[in-house]
Amino acid sequence: MDINVKVKPNLQIRAFYLFFIIAGIQLGVGIIGAPKFIFVEAERDSWLAILIGFLFMCVVVGVMFFILNQYENADYFGIHVDLFGKWIGKFLGTLLIIYLGASFLSILMTYIQVIQIFLYHALPNWIITSLIMILVLYTVFGGIRVVVGVTFIFFIITLSLLTVLYDPLLRINMYNYLPMFQASFPELLRGAKATAYTFAGFEILMIIYPFVSNKRNAKLPVYLGLTFTTFLFILITMLSIGYFSAKGLKNIDWALLILVKSASFTFLERLDYIVVIVWLMVIIPNLVLLMWAMAYGMKRLYKIQQRKTHYLFTGIILIAVNYFQYGHQITKLTDFIAKTGFWIVYIYPLLLLPIVLVRKKLKSSGRSKPS
């Protein structure tokens, strides 16, 4: 297996699109329910907790860039094999793919649950899944450029959803924010940890990076993407805190959708239905990016055709969704993804860093000896 990837010029993407890839994969189902989880920990100072999460995320992304720049054109799969040898490297790569698959499932299940609560109560999971998977398969068959294109277009379209938030903005109660700065530092850290599920997704950078054609300009769009997500996250969390009572917010599962419910126009009575449906456009970038990353990983590790992985995984998903019938199962799955995601996405690159550094030193000293 090659450690560095040779990407054909017709498959490369411009660094500019990294903004949409990062923001697109971070904004998904997580943000619908996230205000509750952060508020439970950090109360009124949730925005501080999110900012701490953001700073930590920036450090992790900085480390990711550092690791990536040690190689010519490598990704997670190549770096693993380079550092740990063929067997352990491939094992770690497989774990990563399983994690991506599990987060795919959790995104899908959460969305299905939203549809079943808001729209069609009795619609079986597998029907919704089939309809969504048709879209996903159709996109990923187009290859990396179509995947990025879909992410870009859906991101632009769904931005308009934000305007719906004007109504709860007018109804917020300013006193809910006071007094500020009451949360203790451990509470803030726990709140920051609660952002892990929503912020997760930027690990895609370690997989998609070899496809970027102008790598020198890659940092800015990535950091901007992170900033944009953080801004949106703080906005929605603060709106929820202002709009709901403290006791109420702790019991609300889909804070964002309830926020949207209060808006209504004379020509459009129930905006929430539209938002629930349009939210599909928000999660499709999530799903296609994850699907692409998984299939690409399989190709890198085991030389399996991407198309075959797509079909296989779709089959697994279609079977797996039928086992999730209860709300608590989905909560459990999401909790599990949030917990493991915290280690895989946030902590793992930091652990990898010293290994990469040692390796680099060994290599350079090995190289300098003969000279």
Partner: protein, 376 residues
């Protein structure tokens, strides 16, 4: 590839029929409903239902059902009509006074839990039985009852103020320590439903009521009031020097003005002694005055402002005294107290004990900026 495309399209075609269809003709759209208690302690729901049938004479029918839960009662009512009852456009829920006094928390649950029920739903309390409001003769009102009731509430809802008390606002206030909700009371006057008063709640239980004339004292405190008519009745003596001679001899000077902008702010003055300041600011546009008055004289206007301030202040003091008796904190002093407290936490019990002892100074500032096209 073509095979795949055909396959994809056919799956989309067939799978879409898995969605349950809802045809408008088969639906009864509930626009408003009233909740009563029967003698057997069961819930009785009276609904105004919109139906879309070509041969029916009236677009709405009134249906009622009895059950031990809200949903059960709706189900019971559903058996009396040929359509399926759907709550997707529920605009108003009215509770009978008896139900409101017992506490409406149990009825709010399904409203918040069921995602099909819109959050733009308003709450109100009936003067007596909620079903009486629905069983009126339609000749008295120009439209159907559901639309009519919603129209009563509508003006406030555009400003997000009373009487538009949405389900979310109400439940937020219940859960918030240090502020209690209000709701409009709807009653019948000569066979027509009107808003007759303000129901004062303590958490989810109705404790008392005030006539609707006091509306402004609450809306001013709730947020910024714009374009709202207000009436004052002032004693005549302070104005004698500004009244042209021989222009009548009523005992009271009656004034109608438009609030161009008005708002109230609460400040905590002394945390230990529980001293609060409420600063009310009202900008008025004079529209009607019962006697000729020297409005071209700035001093005369100042005198008018002073008297309105005095009266508003004493009204506020009376209202607060009554609220203290009921121990309901409608104005939200507890909320201000909480924000100034370390840790920002306040329990219901703690505030219940402290609230009757608070000391509030009302500072009312009235500005009459315009008085129409004529001076006298």
């Amino acid at each position: 590839m073509r095979k795949l495309t055909i396959m994809i399209f056919s799956t989309m075609l067939f799978l879409s029929s898995c969605l349950p269809t809802l045809q408008l003709e088969d639906l009864g759209v509930i626009t408003s409903q009233g909740v009563d208690m029967t003698e057997k302690d069961e819930i009785e729901i009276t609904m105004s239902v919109l139906q879309f049938q070509a041969n029916s004479t009236s677009p709405t029918t009134i249906v009622s059902g009895v059950g031990s839960t809200i949903k059960g009662a709706v189900e019971d009512a559903g058996q009396k009509v040929s359509q399926q009852l759907v709550p997707g456009k529920l605009e108003l829920e009215i509770y009978s006074k008896e139900v409101a006094e017992k506490g409406i928390q149990p009825y709010l649950d399904t409203l918040r839990r069921d995602a099909n029920i819109p959050d733009t739903l308003f709450l109100a309390v009936a003067e007596e039985k909620a079903k009486d409001i629905f069983h009126i003769k339609e000749e008295y009102i120009s439209t159907n009852i559901g639309e009519f009731l919603h129209g009563l509430i509508q003006p406030g809802s555009e400003q997000r103020l009373f009487p538009g008390i949405s389900i979310n606002k109400f439940s937020t206030y219940i859960n918030n320590e240090g502020i209690d909700p209000i709701a409009p009371i709807i009653g019948l006057r000569e066979g027509t439903p009107v808003i007759t008063g303000i129901a004062l709640f303590k958490d989810d239980k109705m404790k008392g009521q005030l006539p609707i004339e006091f509306e402004h004292y609450f809306t001013l405190n709730e947020g910024t009031v714009r374009e709202d008519l207000v009436e004052f009745e002032l004693p005549m003596e302070p104005f004698t020097e500004y009244l042209p001679k021989g222009s009548g001899d009523e005992e009271k000077l009656k004034i109608v003005a438009l609030i161009e902008e008005g708002n109230g702010k609460i400040k905590l003055k002394d945390k230990k002694a529980l001293k609060f300041d409420t600063n009310i600011k009202i900008v008025l546009n004079l529209l009607e005055i019962s006697r000729q008055y020297k409005l071209d004289d700035p001093k005369a206007i100042a005198q008018l402002e002073k008297e309105i301030e005095k009266q508003t202040k004493s009204q506020y003091e009376d209202i607060l005294k009554y609220l203290k008796e009921l121990n309901t904190d409608i104005f939200g002093y507890g909320m201000i107290y909480r924000t100034n407290k370390k840790g920002g936490k306040l329990t219901d019990k703690e505030w219940d004990e402290k609230y009757p002892n608070i000391d509030v100074t009302f500072n009312v500032k009235v500005d009459i900026v315009r008085h129409g096209t004529v001076n006298r």
